[in-house]
């Protein structure tokens, strides 16, 4: 691949948080067992005036603020989410207007559970590689819902990341990408239903682990690399335990995944998960370092990327937008009742 990669990036997580122990208590469960079992301390909560459109716009604007491009040169925007504000009417057009990239623009919204954002990255790569567009923006964001009292409630959170893909002044070269896809019904949401359903333990071995390990191994074989060749690894993080286990299975160390493992502090931002994990790595990565990213989306599939950080990363102004570490620290806690009010769990007539 000729020098295609990320030319800028941005991320956003809402300010509000709820502690795992407060959710556990609401349902009469032991707080410590739950938070230790999932390795999640707290998760982000969107305020009632935040949704995937507002989060996507924040992440997109962060990416634009870090470099000097004319937003009119962005030729495509793809927003991946499983909680788009409208079932029909794209989030991408709202982002397009908000960053002044309209009207000469390709836009579509994507859905592939938690890997819709990385699918958007692949699409932008191909449009850039074929010279159909100069820059493309890929966004993955969610304000994911979980049925109250369900295990998913401890993790389902809100956040998103945006990546501008291009050929010029690339800060992180995407050396290659590959995907692994099967029809595996591990987690889904039927049309018209408010909350997703899942197959319990079926979401583990035949779903998350199978797709990530196969895809990761395929990419490393293609690239002729070993886990040791990478400084950072990012895996999809539906809880704080799965990524640690899959890293070990593949031969990656905890130190390699630490920087991109945000789930214990922010929860699972679904389509935003690996996106903000990558953003967190880019916040600190140095030229020459290599990054291995493998996303997972239920239904099921995985996208993997082999990335090398370039010298150009020194030339973008990272501080023109908030770093993930700053956003994680900037928080306000809510109790379960307030959380229920903001997340529309209370039935109002």
């Amino acid at each position: 691949m000729d020098n295609i990669g990320i030319i800028s990036y941005g991320a956003y997580i809402p300010r509000l948080r709820i502690k795992t122990e407060d959710i556990a208590r609401a349902w009469g469960k032991d707080p410590e067992t739950i938070s230790k079992g999932l390795n999640i301390l707290e998760k982000t909560v969107p305020h009632c005036d935040q949704d995937v459109a507002t989060i996507s716009v924040e992440a997109a604007r962060a990416a634009i603020n870090r470099i000097n491009i004319d937003p009119q040169d962005i030729g495509a925007i793809y927003v991946g989410s499983e909680s788009h504000p409208y079932a029909v009417k794209p989030t991408g057009t709202i982002v397009g207007e908000a960053i002044l990239a309209t009207p000469i623009l390709h836009v579509a919204d994507y859905e592939f559970a938690c890997k819709a954002g990385t699918a958007a990255i692949q699409t932008c790569m191909s449009l850039v590689k074929s010279d159909m567009i100069k820059y493309g923006m890929a966004i993955g964001a969610d304000t994911s819902q979980a049925a109250p009292g369900d295990a998913l409630e401890y993790a389902a959170s809100a956040g998103g990341g945006a990546f501008i893909i291009g050929k010029e002044n690339v800060i992180a070269e995407i050396n290659d990408t590959c995907s692994y896809t099967t029809d595996t019904p591990d987690f889904w949401r039927r049309e018209g239903r408010k909350y997703p359903a899942h197959g319990g333990r079926f979401t583990g071995t035949p779903a998350y682990f199978k797709h990530i390990t196969n895809n990761a191994n395929n990419l490393m074989e293609k690239m002729q690399t070993k886990p040791d060749d990478y400084n950072y690894a990012i895996f999809h993080q539906p809880n704080g335990k799965f990524p640690i286990r899959v890293a070990k299975m593949l031969g990656f160390s905890y130190d390699q995944i630490k920087q991109g493992l945000l789930c214990p502090y922010v929860g699972n931002t679904y389509s935003g998960a690996t996106m903000i994990g990558l953003a967190s790595v880019l916040d600190v990565a140095k030229p020459g370092e290599r990054v291995f990213l493998t996303s997972y989306g239920s239904g099921a599939g995985s996208d993997a990327f082999d990335i090398t950080i370039t010298d150009q990363i020194k030339n973008i102004d990272k501080n023109k937008a908030p770093l993930l570490s700053d956003m994680i620290e900037n928080k306000e806690y809510v109790d379960y009742t307030t959380y229920a009010k903001y997340r529309d769990l209370l039935i109002l007539e």
């Binding site: 300010r15 305020h47 009632c48 005036d49 935040q50 949704d51 459109a53 507002t54 716009v57 924040e58 604007r61 504000p85 409208y86 709202i94 207007e97 908000a98 002044l100 306000e332 009010k341 903001y342």
Partner: protein, 136 residues
């Protein structure tokens, strides 16, 4: 068919999303929302009003904490609403977000952010626009 005033709110997207105002090229006064003609220069300004994107930076001139809110905002009370003087000159009325109520004070610097303003029930359109965050 939805009865909400969709065209009216669509027309104002440039203002609500990007604070697009305009400036009288005669006297350089900036207006938000944009004015058809400059009240100061009047007919001299016709054809001379140029579109301008405001920076979103400003300062709180006055504010209140709303405890009894309109129907569409009931979930958010109590919330602060303020009159903000934007850097370029015009004043604007907007909610202040992402802070403790007690941190809102006259004189504090603010910056615009993109949020959901309201929606037309569960069936109609969703309207996005500006709210402001404290920067100091």
């Amino acid at each position: 068919m939805v009865d909400g005033a969709v065209p009216r709110f669509w027309r104002e997207i440039p203002q609500r999303y990007n604070l697009i105002g305009n400036r009288c090229e005669s006297c350089k006064t900036v207006y938000f929302p944009p004015m058809e003609a400059c009240p100061k220069c009047r007919r001299k300004s016709l054809g001379k009003m140029k579109e301008l994107k405001l920076s979103g930076k400003g300062e709180i001139v006055t504010y209140t904490i709303i405890h009894v809110g309109p129907e569409n905002f009931e979930n958010q009370t109590p919330y602060p609403i303020a009159i903000i003087k934007l850097k370029e000159g015009p004043h604007i009325t907007a909610q202040i977000v992402d802070c403790d109520l007690k941190d809102v004070k006259i004189g504090k610097k603010v910056e615009s952010t993109f949020r959901k303003i309201q929606q037309d029930g569960d069936i109609g359109a969703i309207y996005y626009g500006y709210k402001f965050k404290l920067t100091d």
